[in-house]
């Protein structure tokens, strides 16, 4: 892992020094062990702030929305994991970014660590640093102690089902591609589908009752790139501010539906939710249905391909008589 981090720093410094780009977006480290967050590097000498560790989860592609529009013709370099690359392609397809102005450095990703899974087992005690070594995580404590645990047990659920760990879009790939061994991703959806309507409604009503309408799931989403979001409109006021069950349901149904056919299944919505609503399952239900009715489609894989809900076939099936 150290090697990749060195490469990242080197490349960032080089592209800034050569004037190829004006800004490099990567990750840097905070004071606490889980804090690996987006870094905006504009000077060569700052490149040493960049890091790579198994906690670099925030998706960087979304920042192009803000950084490109503010910088005119300037170019930006971006480090992309598999999910970040899908997100980039989606922004491209939605006409919200410009390929020529972005340099992508691909990072094959073998999964990122879910801090809450370490915490649940008390492994966060005195933790200073988490490193990946093959199939294991190396947990480094304050006093120089090291503990090794199987990595798979502590990765984000979304990483265990990841189907594109190797970036699908890049100008240069850093590191060796990793094997693709995703677990079945629709298990959760299928389980919910087994419930009857009443139970399913109560399940979601309970989940949505925790929603505090912080909009993190929308704001983190690379498919939620509207300049003015429907939920922020004053007139017509589609969504009121009251955290009523009906308003919460409206929010979550429309949020998921608005990214139908564009959701890259990166799972950031579920990750950022402070009250752990399984939001990714909503998006996955829609993905499953699109695949079933209108053919397999993976958003973000090929930006030239038409998204399923902006196109049609004259002999499409409909789902209007099912019950």
């Amino acid at each position: 892992m150290k090697n990749l981090q060195d490469t990242i720093r080197e490349i960032a410094a080089q592209s800034l020094a050569r004037g190829e780009v004006e800004l490099v977006i990567g990750w840097e480290k905070g004071d606490l062990w889980w804090q690996s967050y987006p870094a905006f590097i504009e000077e060569e000498k700052e490149a040493d702030r960049l890091i790579w560790d198994p906690l670099c989860v925030p998706n960087l592609s979304r920042y192009l929305l803000q950084e490109l529009s503010e910088m005119d013709e300037k170019k930006i370099a971006l480090f992309v994991k598999g999910c970040d690359a899908l997100a980039f392609n989606q922004l491209l397809q939605d006409n919200r970014t410009v390929r020529e102005r972005v340099v992508l450095y691909g990072i094959p990703c073998d999964g990122l660590v879910d801090p809450s899974k370490l915490e649940r087992e008390g492994l966060d005690r005195d933790l200073q640093e988490v490193e990946r070594d093959g199939e294991e995580l190396v947990l480094k404590a304050a006093a120089g102690e090291e503990k090794r645990v199987p990595a798979k047990d502590y990765l984000y659920d979304k990483c265990l089902t990841c189907r594109y760990p190797n970036p699908v879009a890049y100008d240069q790939m850093l590191g060796e591609t990793v094997p693709v061994e995703p677990e079945e991703r629709f298990t959760g959806v299928r389980k919910l589908e087994e419930l009857d309507y009443e139970d399913r409604f109560s399940y979601w009503a309970e989940q949505f009752s925790r929603c505090i309408r912080c909009f993190a799931c929308r704001n983190v989403c690379p498919a939620c790139s509207c300049i003015k979001c429907v939920f922020d409109l004053q007139e017509p006021r589609w969504l009121g501010k009251a955290t009523e069950p009906s308003e919460n349901a409206f929010y979550h149904i429309i949020r998921a539906y608005h990214v139908a056919g564009r959701c890259v299944d990166c799972g950031e919505c579920s990750r950022v939710c402070p009250v752990d609503i399984p939001l990714q399952e909503l998006n996955r239900k829609i993905i499953l249905d699109i695949n079933e009715l209108y053919g397999e489609y993976d958003a973000g894989v090929d930006p030239e391909q038409e998204a399923p809900l902006i196109t049609y076939k004259t002999d499409d099936p409909a789902a209007f008589t099912e019950s």
């Binding site: 959806v189 919910l192 589908e193 309507y197 009443e198 139970d199 399913r200 409604f201 109560s202 399940y203 979601w204 009503a205 429907v230 589609w238 009251a242 009523e244 069950p245 009906s246 308003e247 349901a249 409206f250 149904i253 429309i254 998921a256 539906y257 139908a260 909503l282 239900k285 829609i286 249905d289 699109i290 009715l293 209108y294 399923p308 809900l309 902006i310 049609y312 076939k313 004259t314 499409d316 099936p317 409909a318 789902a319 209007f320 099912e322 019950s323």
Partner: protein, 145 residues
């Protein structure tokens, strides 16, 4: 469903979004042909079935609809050439999604009714309330305030 039995004389309230070019005209034909059908639906005229945003459908449920109907031209007959082809995909996904949220699919129907199908319009308007009557009043998604 038990709510239905508690509430006597339950009359389903249906919000029907009808495409201006076909289904709304089909409704007119049903009227001028003096066909009778129950008055459960409140018709809202829209330019095309693809105009119907999921926001409209959810808002109808929020404000008290027991069922929502979207009616448009038969695929291939869209006044705007392709509108209802798009609607077919979008509304199919939405219908399944509402089912996933626990809303019975019978509460949300899509029918293709042409301007010459006054009979079909009356038929849909007769059948849908009956299906919903069996389900009872909708409480899901409704704003209780």
């Amino acid at each position: 469903m038990s709510v239905a039995r508690e509430e006597h004389n339950f009359e389903p309230l249906i919000v029907a979004f009808c495409c201006n070019w076909c289904s709304y005209a089909g409704g007119d034909l049903a009227g001028t042909s003096r066909m009778s059908y129950p008055p459960n639906a409140r018709v809202i005229r829209v330019p095309c079935s693809s105009r119907v945003s999921p926001n409209f459908i959810l808002r109808a449920f929020q404000r008290g609809a027991d069922g929502v109907l979207v009616a448009g031209c038969h695929p291939g007959d869209c006044h705007y050439i392709t509108g209802n082809y798009h609607a077919r995909r979008r509304l199919s996904i939405l219908r399944r999604f509402l089912g996933f949220m626990g809303v019975e699919p019978e509460r949300f129907e899509v029918h293709w009714i042409s301007a010459s199908e006054g009979g079909k319009f009356a038929e849909v308007m007769t059948e849908m309330p009956e299906k919903i009557r069996a389900l009872g009043p909708n409480r899901k998604l409704r704003d209780a305030r």
